[in-house]
């Protein structure tokens, strides 16, 4: 193959090409060996068979572990449109990979797109070996494609070198303590493929060099294939499928089926999707990089959980009765499973379609539904939910007194909204302030609302901690209560209540339409008085942001109350407050407190006020600011309080 400048023109096609290019007249030919002997062709066929054979032999056990796993009973290809769109966006466009880590993401995207561009080149390459190469003879298109692939080859070669340097020299800590040697080998092979392709553009067609380059390229290609299974490079094969097949909803927990399903107890409970996802993990560590537990010294490392499931499958197989937690795989420990705040940063970040939450919560379900999890605080929480029906373990009389004191009307069907207080709004002093202020806002806007006479917890902490019995009872009672009261629309200050009622309760029935107070207030933002002055940093609650994709509404409310500033990590990259997943009710944290880390990050913006939109976040930061807030900690206010403050000032000004 030759790259000819100006003077020497190769083929007629090259001439056309040169003509097109005008000033920079480039003739381009891919040097190919003249011909192959029968022996060479046989050798090629044998090598190809060997390569494919080793590939299949290594992939076989994994495929069997996926296929042999339990069927996902709730699986459905619908909604197909959404799946196709995710595939196009996340796989073909590499959007998530690029967006969340721009530089390495782009390098990865170049390698991926380069591979796609090379599909035709590789096919032609092997065809040449059998004497039926087609690309060179495809007229203008062939010449164009050879040049087009050359551009990609350059981009891939540069990108893979960059990624190699990042992995083996820069070594970001979330890649883990050891980086696998195979990935170095793979990077070398990819580089060799590109180099041999590019080199073939500079040697004479039919020459000995062309033959040598052809064989090197072929051997690299055939060596590449068998290495893929058993390494993180299996994601090349699996992740497009995994992304397409993943559960359509965020943190989608499967319904427990039959009398012997208690969640993920042993290998027999691992489903095909979980197994497929475990084998797809590319070990990039994005999940761990963003994990609040892993970043504050807890034993939980979400990447190790996924790899732990993979190790378990390899060692025990999918039908095994051996316990998943605290068994042979060290990463799968009870302590790790219960250190998760269910913030979902891992699941959101994963570029290959691994869904961590159904696994982490599934492991908890297995432990709690069978009674294997023994925890003083966890038991106290469950008993409080069983007996008092609220997560704070307060007498329900306290809620009655609060409602009476605030003169909240009882919902009687005549009001537009049912104002759901939630455990925090009913019993927590700060939660009560938030609810009272939100009621003030609703009253000022002239929106009719009423509260239920009796309320029980939605079951959120029970759900996230894996107590299906308790969650089911609370969900059923909640659905009944709404139906009995004739509620059509619910609004609440708590994103956990919103998520649980709207999504998790679906296992038991359809609840009335529910929205978060940020959504309600954003619709009325133009009616809220405009306040000036203070800088307000807004903290995205996990259950409002990643779980519900509500980012702009609370910001619209904050913008009426002051100057909105953003923390270093915000929106879908927001860092958890540490309360989710029932962890607000469990005892002391090991290592650093998640809430302290986030409070410091919010304070680092220099904002005078921290704006929250979740009573749990508010409660966590209240404590954190007491500990790390210094002499003059920023003010801590819910968005409802920010809005109510404006209304109070307006009323005062009128008087």
């Amino acid at each position: 193959m030759r790259l000819l400048w100006w003077r020497s023109m190769g083929s007629a096609e090259a001439g056309e090409m040169a003509g097109v290019l005008g000033v920079l007249r480039v003739g381009i030919t891919l040097a190919e060996p003249m011909s192959f002997s029968v022996a060479e062709k046989l050798l090629l066929a044998a090598l190809m068979a060997a390569s494919a054979g080793v590939f299949a032999w290594r992939l076989g056990p994994m495929a069997r572990n996926v296929w042999g796993a339990k069927k996902d009973t709730d699986f459905s290809l619908r909604p197909v449109g959404k799946r196709v769109w995710k595939f196009v966006w996340e796989v073909l466009c590499q959007a998530k990979v690029i967006r969340q880590r721009p530089l390495p993401g782009l390098a990865h995207a170049f390698v991926f797109w380069g591979f796609l561009a090379f599909a035709l080149v590789s096919l032609n390459h092997i065809a040449v070996g059998f004497g039926c190469g087609f690309l060179q003879y495809a007229g203008g298109f062939g010449t164009f494609y050879v040049g087009y692939a050359a551009v990609w080859a350059l981009l891939v070669a540069v990108s893979i070198s960059g990624l190699f340097v990042r992995r083996f020299v820069v070594r970001p800590k979330w890649l883990g303590e050891k980086v696998s040697m195979e990935s170095g080998v793979i990077a070398g092979l990819i580089f060799a493929l590109m180099a041999t392709y590019l080199a073939a553009l500079f040697v004479a067609d039919g020459s000995g060099e062309a033959l040598g380059l052809w064989w090197v390229h072929t051997l690299v290609l055939l060596a590449f294939l068998p290495i893929i299974p058993g390494t993180k490079h299996l994601h090349l094969v699996l992740s497009p499928l995994t992304v397409f097949l993943k559960r359509p909803e965020f943190s989608q927990l499967p319904k427990l089926e039959g009398d012997e399903d208690f969640g993920l107890v042993a290998g027999k409970d691992l489903t095909r999707l979980i197994a497929l996802q475990a084998y797809s993990c590319v070990e990039c560590g994005r999940c761990t990089e963003h994990c609040p537990a892993a970043n504050t010294g807890k034993v939980l490392n979400p990447k190790e959980i996924v790899l732990g499931v993979r190790s378990y499958l390899n060692a025990e197989g999918p039908g095994s009765e051996v316990a998943l937690l605290d068994g042979s795989v060290k990463a799968l420990s009870m302590e790790a499973a219960f250190a998760c705040t269910t913030c979902g940063a891992c699941e959101f970040q994963c570029p290959v379609g691994v869904q961590h939450l159904p696994v982490l919560i599934g492991l908890r379900r297995g432990a709690v539904n069978t009674g294997a999890w023994e925890d003083r605080f966890g038991t106290k929480l469950f008993l409080a939910l069983e007996k008092q029906g609220n997560s704070l373990g307060m007498s329900t009389m306290e809620r009655d007194k609060f409602i009476a004191k605030q003169e909240f009307p009882v919902f009687d069907g005549s009001q537009e909204y049912c104002l759901w207080l939630g455990c925090m709004g009913s019993y927590d002093p700060k939660g009560r302030e938030i609810v009272s202020d939100f009621a003030r806002v609703m009253r000022a806007l002239g929106t009719g609302f009423g509260v239920l006479k009796k309320e029980k917890c939605t079951g959120d902490p029970a759900r996230r901690l894996g107590n299906d019995l308790l969650f089911g009872e609370l969900a059923e009672q909640g659905l009944k209560a709404f139906e009995a009261a004739g509620v059509k629309k619910i609004v609440t200050i708590c994103p956990h209540c919103v998520r649980t009622i709207a999504t998790d309760w679906l296992e038991y029935g359809v609840a009335p339409e529910i929205e978060h107070h940020s959504e309600f207030m954003a619709r009325h933002a133009h009616l809220l008085p405009k306040q000036t002055g203070a800088n307000i940093v807004y903290h995205d609650p996990c259950y409002l942001g990643r779980y519900r994709e509500v980012y702009d509404e609370p910001r619209a409310v904050v913008a009426t109350a002051g100057e909105l500033v953003e923390a270093e990590r915000s929106r879908e990259r927001s860092f958890c407050c540490g309360a989710g997943g029932g962890l607000a009710f469990l005892g002391e944290e090991s290592g650093e407190r998640v809430s302290h880390v986030r409070a410091q990050e919010l304070m680092a913006t220099g904002a005078e006020t921290i704006g929250t939109a979740c009573p749990f976040c508010n409660s966590m930061f209240r404590d954190a600011l007491g500990a790390v807030g210094g002499e003059t900690p920023p003010q801590l206010l819910d968005i409802a309080q920010l809005a109510a403050r404006g209304l109070a000032a307006e009323t005062a000004a009128k008087q």
């Binding site: 427990l256 009398d259 208690f262 709690v368 539904n369 069978t370 009674g371 003083r376 966890g378 038991t379 469950f382 008993l383 069983e386 007996k387 008092q388 007498s395 329900t396 009389m397 107590n467 299906d468 019995l469 308790l470």
Partner: protein, 259 residues
Amino acid sequence: MKIVVAVKQVPERDAVVRVAADGRGVDESDAAWTMNEPDAYALEEALQLKERAGDGEVVVLCAGPERVQSTLREALAKGADRAVHVVTPESGAGSLGERDTLDVARLLADAVRAEAADLVLTGLQSDDLGAGQTGVVMAELLGVPHATLVLQVELAGAGIKVKRELEDGWMQQVEMPLPALLTVQSGGNRLRYATLMGIKRARQKEMREVEAAAATKRADEVVKVSLPVRVKQTEMLTGSADEIAAKLVERLKFEVKVL
């Protein structure tokens, strides 16, 4: 070791109590029911004894109408091996409301006798009536030794060693032979939470229904049931600080009697 745990179903703690129309009982029509708390601790103690011993059987026993089966199921779900339900009518003649403590204790003692248990546990009193009599009367009827206000039980040779709560923070350790009956105080253990697996397993466990003997005539008579009248009185003590202090001490000494 075979342990029988006698439990009672009582209205939920937060239930709003209303006096029944006849003024001689409590209106139970919309009450939510739960296991009496000290009985829950008695059950926990029994389950832990069985777990420590490595084998044995825990039989849970309850007298009452159909609705008490939910409490028995809860006990089965938490780990009891089987249940005995002494069935009484919902209301009227023979119902729990028509029976006195002695009569209820007799119903339970008859059921225990049929089981030939090594140990009988029950809560020290009920959250609703709070008489604290049923357990000890049962022991008397069964002719076995008993201990009250028990916080912990240990096996000691052929008998048991129990820790009892006395007043003012004092504890007493008592050794007893078996069979015996103990009434258990709340708070000696940590209760366990109900699990999905427990509930599912409980469905397969035996729930035996036993017809209750006819009621005997009550030894006592309920004349009237009334809600306690809540009185709130505030009296401001006035004068100089010294005078107020003197008045306060006097009141605390002679009226409230805490000094």
